[in-house]
C-alpha cells in the first residue's frame, strides 16, 4: 500500500451531522461539489447511503478516489446533464452555493434531479458579518476565510435572501436548521444569530 491516508475532516465538520439527520438510511444521494468526499463517506458509513459526488478540482478528485467513494468529474456550472431527472432521493450542495456562478440554474437542476434538495451555506446576515460591514470592512468570517479580492465566494446571501430565491425558483422549503458559531441550534433571530444555515426543500411541482 502507498501513502494514501486521507485525514478525516469529519471531526472538523459538525455540519455533516445536521445533514445526515435529514437523510434516511439507504437513500440515494448526489453530493454536488463534494470536495474530498468526506461527507459522502460519512453518510455511507453512518446512513448506508448509495451515491455519487460531483467535483471539478483535480486534488479533491484524487482525495475522493482515496476515500473510496464514487465521484464524477464535472463542472456544476455546465449543469447536471449526466444525471436523469428524479434519479436521487437527495441532492446535496454543502457550503458550495456561495461559489456557484449560476445560482438559480443550479437550484433548478437540483430540483430536477433530486426528489429533495439539501443546501447549506454560511449566513451572511450573521451578526459578526454585519458588525464588520458597519465598521467599514468586508467581513472575513470563520466560515469563509478569504479576503474580498481572493475569494472564490461570489454569491453571498442571508437566510432571508435564500428563502426569497427558493420562492422564485418554485421550491418549497420543508425544513430549516440554523447553527451558531459553536454549532448549536439557533431558533431565536436566526438570520442575525446564525452562522450556518441548512435547508431541505422540494419542487412545488
Amino acid at each position: 500500500m502507498t501513502d494514501t491516508t486521507v485525514p478525516s475532516t469529519i471531526a472538523l465538520r459538525p455540519d455533516f451531522a445536521a445533514i445526515a439527520a435529514w437523510i434516511h438510511p439507504g437513500a440515494k444521494i448526489l453530493d454536488l461539489g463534494c470536495g474530498d468526499g468526506s461527507l459522502l463517506r460519512y453518510l455511507r458509513d453512518t446512513r448506508n447511503v448509495f451515491g455519487y459526488g460531483v467535483e471539478i478540482d483535480d486534488d479533491n478528485l484524487l482525495s475522493c478516489f482515496r476515500n473510496g467513494i464514487n465521484v464524477i468529474h464535472n463542472d456544476l456550472e455546465a449543469g447536471l446533464s449526466s444525471f436523469a431527472s428524479d434519479s436521487f432521493d437527495f441532492v446535496i450542495l454543502s457550503q458550495t452555493l456561495q461559489a456557484v456562478r449560476h445560482t438559480e440554474g443550479i437550484i433548478q437542476e437540483i430540483l430536477r434531479v433530486g426528489k429533495e434538495g439539501i443546501i447549506s451555506f454560511p449566513n451572511f446576515g450573521y451578526w459578526k458579518n454585519r458588525v464588520q460591514v458597519i465598521s467599514g470592512r468586508m467581513p472575513v468570517p470563520e466560515t469563509l476565510p478569504y479576503n474580498w479580492y481572493d475569494t472564490p465566494n461570489i454569491h453571498l446571501c442571508t437566510l432571508d435572501d435564500f428563502e426569497a430565491l427558493c420562492q422564485q425558483c418554485n421550491a418549497r422549503i420543508l425544513e430549516r436548521s440554523v447553527m451558531n458559531n459553536h454549532y448549536r441550534p439557533v431558533n431565536f433571530l436566526p438570520n442575525l444569530r446564525g452562522m450556518l444555515a441548512f435547508y431541505r426543500f422540494e419542487s412545488k411541482g
Binding site: 500500500m1 502507498t2 494514501t4 440515494k28 448509495f50 455519487y52 483535480d58 478528485l61 484524487l62 475522493c64 478516489f65 482515496r66 473510496g68 467513494i69 464514487n70 465521484v71 464524477i72 468529474h73 464535472n74 449526466s82 444525471f83 436523469a84 434519479s87
Partner: protein, 375 residues
Amino acid sequence: MQDSKSVGVVIPQFVQIDKPLQLKSGLSLDSYHLVYETYGQLNAAYSNAVLICHALSGNHHVAGVYAENEKSIGWWDNMVGPGKPIDTNRFFVIGVNNPGGCHGSTGPASVDPHTGKHYGAGFPVVTVEDWVEAQAQLAEHLGIEQFAAVVGGSLGGMQAMQWTLDYPEKVRHALVIAAAPKLTAQNIAFNDVARQAIMTDQEFYGGNFYAYDTLPRRGLRLARMLGHITYLSDDSMAAKFGRSLRNGELSFGFDVEFEIESYLRYQGDKFADLFDANSYLLMTKALDYFDPAAAYNGDLSAAFRVAKANFLVISFTSDWRFSPERSREIVKALLNNELNVSYAEITSSYGHDSFLMTTPYYHQLVRAYMDNISI
C-alpha cells in the same frame, strides 16, 4: 540498468484451446492458441487477478523485458509492476494477445490446420465480443473465476466494457480508459482510409502476400502514419516538432523537409516491419463494429442493464479521437443503472496516446482506485 519497479525478465506463455471459438460473424475457429504473460502471484483465493486488454496494435507484452533484448520493454510498463499503479506485489496481472493478432496468438499469419497454408485473407473477422470469449477461455485455463479488475485503454477499454456485459459475474471492477461506446463516422472513416492504404498496395495480393513472400509495406506504413497523426494532438505535435526543418532550410522538393515528416515516416517504417497487414485490417474492423447499444436500439443504458461491475472511466482533454464527451456517454449509461462509477477527465496534451504516458496525476488516480479494490 534494471528498473527496481520493473517486473523484470518475463517469458511469454502459450495455451492451445481446442474448444471452438464461435464468432459473432457466424463463423468459428475450431481451435486456436493464445500467447499471454503474467506478472505477480495469483493468491490462494484466486481473487487478485487483473486482466489487461490491449489496444489496436498491442499485444500480450504489457510489462517487463525479454532476456534477449533489453529494449523490449512492455507497452504499459509504466503502469504495471511492483509498486506501480497496478501493483504486481498485490495483483496477478495477465496480458494476452487477441486472436487475429500477430504476436503469437492464432491470426492471419498462422497456418490453417485445414489447408496447411497461412490463413491470410481467409482468417475470419473477429470482434470485441469474440476476444472477450477467447479471454474467458484463458481465464478458465488459469482457474480464474472472477477478475478483481479488467483494464484497458482505447480498444482495450472496449473489451473491459464488453466483459461486464458478457460476464457480469466475472468482473468486480472495469477500468475503461480513453474509450468510447462506439466509433463515430469520422473514426470509421479514418480506419477505412488506413485499410484502403493497405488493400490497394500492389503487394497485398488480396491478403495472401505470405504466399508471394512479400509484404504490403507501403500500405501498412501509410496506415500507421495516418493512425499516428490521429492519436496525437495538434499541441503535442507542435511542442515536439513544430515546423522544425531537418536540414535547416527549405529544399522546395518532396523529400523529407520537416521533422514531423521524418518522424512519421520512421514510425511508419518501423511498424510495417513489425505488424501484420491482415491483423491491422481485422483490428480496425473490430473497432468499427463495437457498439453494445446496437442490440438495444442505440440505448446504451439498456445495454448496461446486465452489468454489475464497479467502473472507473478515464478520459483525456486533448484526445480528439476518443474525446471526453464519448466517455461521458459511458458514464451516463452507468449512472442510469445505479452502478458504482467514478469518472475523471485528465488534463493532458498528448492526445489519445495520453493513456500510455506517465502523467503523475493520471497514475495517482489509477493507483488510488486500484488500492481500494479488495482482494
